[in-house]
């Protein structure tokens, strides 16, 4: 009896526990955050959440700090992503050949991705240290003026980009390397017959064939780079001032330092729509390249 009941509902029995988790730990919290974005609440038991309609969204769009955070997010994300893509593809092409120590090279490349980001962020703080850091020592050794790096409003975001580039270029590189091993050989053979140079083969055959792979890698990175939290919070906490305050950091500050839960929720809803929109746009771009190639 029980056995046949289980047999019929097997599909639901195996998925139910995970489904419950998704409902309780994901769907409910998202609905809660969405609802909270129409309320004003500072988590005090004495004053319950107060309905304010769209006021949080209006306040958010009038908030200069929000627009600044949006700009910082765009600057950081696209700067890091562009560099990671170019470097990742270049390094993948460099490593995609037989040489002694290829295994070791791949292993070393794996490490920045898996090493604890907070810990590595703090290592970078020491590297960037204005008075004792190695970077300034190197600059001075070649006769240049020392920089403030993470401590300067103008240099902080590029300095953070360098950390992200160090951490995540290997990701793009590994995906592109996997893509390189699946490329067909025929185009290269006919190119050899036509006497194409190495550079021509790279530009007219390899890169176009790699396009879908590169776009996949870019999409995966984009989803994560926009939400970068650990290395920024560990190294600058959004500072100096608010110079490196991205949307994720500002959302965190609003929620857990100022306890403006309603405003923070409205920011997160806008932020989510942004991530979603960009992801969908990239999916469409990728699909179009597949059709045309």
């Amino acid at each position: 009896m029980l056995a046949s009941w289980m047999e019929k509902r097997f599909k639901w029995i195996v998925t139910l526990p995970a489904l419950l988790f998704v409902l309780v730990m994901m769907a409910f919290p998202i609905a809660y955050t969405l609802r909270l974005s129409f309320f004003e609440w500072s988590m005090s038991a004495a004053s319950p959440p107060k309905w304010v309609g769209l006021d949080n969204y209006i306040a958010l769009f009038k908030d200069g700090r929000f627009w600044h955070a949006l700009g910082a997010t765009a600057y950081f994300s696209f700067g890091a992503l562009a560099a990671e893509t170019v470097l990742g593809v270049a390094i993948a092409l460099l490593l995609h050949r037989e040489f002694r120590g290829r295994g070791l090279a791949k292993t070393i490349f794996l490490l920045p991705m898996v090493a604890t980001p907070v810990a590595m962020g703090l290592v970078w703080v020491l590297i960037y240290e204005p008075t004792n850091g190695i970077f300034n020592a190197l600059l001075q050794a070649i006769g240049l003026k020392p920089l403030h790096w993470l401590g300067s409003i103008g240099q902080v975001i590029p300095s953070l980009m360098v950390i992200d580039i160090w951490q995540w270029t290997p990701m793009i590189c590994l995906i592109v390397m996997a893509g390189l091993t699946t490329l067909p050989q025929e185009p290269y053979e006919s190119a050899d017959v036509d006497g194409a140079s190495r550079l021509q083969k790279l530009w007219y055959i390899t890169l176009p064939l790699l396009r879908p792979t590169i776009l996949t890698a870019v999409m995966l990175r984009l989803i994560d780079v926009i939400k970068t939290f650990d290395i920024i919070y560990a190294t600058t906490q959004g500072g100096p001032g608010t110079a490196s305050e991205t949307l994720n950091i500002y959302g965190y500050v609003l929620a857990f330092q100022y306890f403006k839960l309603g405003l923070a929720s409205s920011l997160l809803v806008v932020f989510f729509l942004l991530v979603m929109g960009l992801t969908l746009a990239l999916i469409v771009v990728r699909r179009n390249t597949e059709v045309s190639s």
């Binding site: 998704v22 730990m25 703090l122 020592a137 270029t169």
Partner: protein, 272 residues
């Protein structure tokens, strides 16, 4: 022509090793500084020649109680991974065999949605239930990291298994549950290994969920090292020793199980 090839090879070999040096430099720097005294770290010029000291490591364990935080990190990483496997393995099997793509996509949403949008409600709820600063809250929150890995890695693993294996089981009179437990799971070792390692590493590294949901009792290593910054003068040697201690287990896993980790990191790419 031959000469040019040799030159090209020399050039690309040099470039390769230069790139590798640059990417491993922060690790080299971290390890070196962890054996330096505060004075040695603060006197530029003597970067590579110094008398190593083990004092920083002793300090991290004795003064900063890192052993306790390490235990906390282990409990949360192992706990959330086991729970993710328990929920994720059957679910992935169901999704793979019955093409329940909706559920699969919903779980993938965990990767796209900013983590803080989960964190605000969790904090409010866990707070009212008195669960902040408990392993339960940390394990539940870290499952949001582990479960998507388990489900997505295992869906593609189960989909790749030949149907004949299960059909043979069904002919032998095994129920579907028995086929899954006795036949499918035992041959899924490599997939489970990849999923578990990814879940453990990313729980071990998690900072955002733990910084809000952990307290004095359950503080994990990333929070403990971040707290180094709250002292008036940063103890750089101690901080770097702490960084070495935190990253060492992850690096060892990555080196020992390189193939699994590359598969795991690429899992998203395959599905993208």
């Amino acid at each position: 022509m031959k000469k040019r090839n040799a030159f090209a090879r020399l050039l690309s070999n040099t470039a390769t090793w230069l790139v590798l040096f640059v990417f491993s430099f922060p690790f080299i720097w971290m390890v070196m500084a962890s054996f330096k005294t505060q004075v040695q770290i603060q006197s530029p010029g003597n970067f590579f020649w110094f008398r190593p000291t083990g004092r920083n490591y002793a300090e991290v364990f004795n003064q900063y109680h890192f052993f306790k935080y390490m235990i906390n990190s282990f409990i949360v990483a192992i706990g959330s991974t086991l729970a993710s496997l328990l929920l994720g393995l059957p679910a992935a099997y169901g999704i793979a065999r019955y093409r329940l793509n909706g559920l699969g996509l919903t779980i993938l949403a965990a990767r796209i949605i900013p983590g803080i949008s989960f964190l605000i409600p969790w904090f409010i709820i866990f707070n009212s239930l008195g669960l902040v600063d408990t392993y339960t809250a940390l394990i539940l929150s870290h499952m949001l990291v582990g479960l998507p890995f388990v489900i997505w890695i295992m869906i593609s693993y189960f989909e790749a298994l030949p149907h004949e294996i299960e059909e043979a089981g069904a002919i032998d009179g095994c129920g579907k549950m028995k086929v899954f437990l006795r036949i499918v799971l035992p041959i899924s070792g490599p997939g489970v290994m990849t999923a578990s390692l990814m879940s453990i590493i990313f729980s071990w590294n998690n900072f955002m969920f733990s910084i809000i949901l952990a307290g004095e009792k359950t503080k994990t290593l990333p929070i403990a090292i971040f707290n180094f910054l709250s002292y008036s003068e940063v103890n750089w040697g101690g901080l770097m020793a702490a960084a070495c201690i935190i990253t060492l287990p992850v690096l060892v896993i990555a080196l020992a199980a390189q193939k699994f980790i590359i598969n795991g990191l690429a899992a998203g790419a395959v599905k993208g």
